[in-house]
Amino acid sequence: MKNFLLISILAMSSISALAQDGYTSLHYDISFALGNTSDFISQPSFRGVGFDYRKMVTGNVGVGISMAYHTFYERKDYDTYSFDDGVTSLSGVQFRYLNALPLHISSNYYFGEDGDQVRPYLGVGIGTLFSERRTEMGQWSSTTNSWQFSLLPEVGLLYQISSDAYLFTAAKFTTPFKNADFDSQPFLSLNIGMAWMLQ
């Protein structure tokens, strides 16, 4: 009986490690430009990668960091752009880039209980978005870098596939606030990847 209890406790400790420790995740991200971001680049980004770390502070609450790197790109067909009330005009093909690096401290609430194979969650992050906007036209380019205060609400799901690994999927809404350089330039990222329990 003692052995049975011991084995049961060990087994439980294995599947409840998410609750006890937390996880790190690496994921591939697809991002969709929204609002002002889509005014600059309307094409979705298929070039994104992200990292999350969560330390479980209770059975249902985890805190940690989220960081990612997304590259948006769009080729704008030959067009004319006017400045100074139309006095100056430039025509050409534009290549637009937005490199976005969101960094957030996040807190998630995980539904379900320790040992559940599926753990959906809701969360919110607070932090910053570093972005580099570059427009290339002809042989010239114009680049603006900026740090913006940002919130990151997210919803996601962990699906346990082994004693120490999960499939990880999430939708994160990066919502930076207007600053001197840029208006808010929100985007929605869909993440899919792996999460590993902290050892």
Binding site: L26, Y28, R47, V49, T80, S89, S91, G92, Y97, M194
Partner: protein
């Protein structure tokens, strides 16, 4: 020991996964222009206080000087070859004619001048990427500080400047100083093929006048 070995394997798997993700993102970084004409640029500006509708005639020289360093006193500038100059000048003339202007040789309302600039750029870079970051770190050690496999590429860009100045006679006297009323710059990479270059020049000229509808005269 077994646990440590397992942890090592797990860490390797994670790094491999991360490496795959990083390679996926870095490997398909968008590259920008693929064709020469995608780098063509047309810029125009004008004097918004000027009434183009009062101008009906224009004059234009039959040669296009090359901007080629400082000219000494009495030196004759180099000129764009006649074939290319004809493409440029004919393009300007036909566009101005469409806008209602008539070419004259004397007493023109506006004079259009054209100049060309060619710039050749050579860039040297280091091929040995695996220690390219060391380049210049150890100037005292040539073996480390040099670039073992340098490469270079050269490209030439051409710019055509067009300016329009008011040359109306006021009471029989030309306005002094001449009043610049419109300007255009057409810029692009130069190609060895003159036929494709000529097509690009013609297109750029057409765009310069299309984006300047205020030039239209009565």
């Amino acid at each position: 020991m077994l646990i440590s070995h397992k942890n090592t394997i797990t860490m390797i798997k994670r790094f491999l996964f991360f490496g795959l993700l990083a390679a996926l993102v870095a490997g398909c970084y968008p590259g920008g222009a693929e064709y020469t004409d995608e780098l063509d640029l047309v810029a125009t500006t004008y004097n918004k206080d000027y009434a183009f509708t009062n101008s009906n005639t224009f004059a234009i020289p039959d040669k296009i000087p090359k901007i080629d360093g400082d000219l000494g006193q009495g030196e004759i500038p180099k000129f764009v070859d006649d074939a290319t100059a004809k493409v440029i000048l004919d393009g300007i003339k036909s566009n101005l004619t469409e806008l209602g202007y008539t070419e004259v040789t004397t007493d023109a309302d506006v004079v259009v001048t054209v100049a060309a600039l060619e710039v050749t750029t050579t860039t040297v870079y280091c091929n040995d990427w695996w220690y390219g970051g060391w380049w210049g770190y150890y100037p005292g050690y040539p073996g480390y500080g040099g670039c073992y496999y340098p490469s270079a590429y050269t490209y030439s860009t051409g710019t055509i400047f067009i300016s329009m100045v008011d040359d109306k006679l006021e009471d029989g006297i030309a306005e002094t100083p001449l009043l610049g009323v419109w300007g255009a710059a057409l810029n692009g990479l130069l190609q060895s093929s003159s036929s494709s270059t000529n097509i690009r020049i013609t297109n750029a000229l057409d765009h310069a006048f299309e984006q300047s509808p205020y030039l239209k005269t009565n």
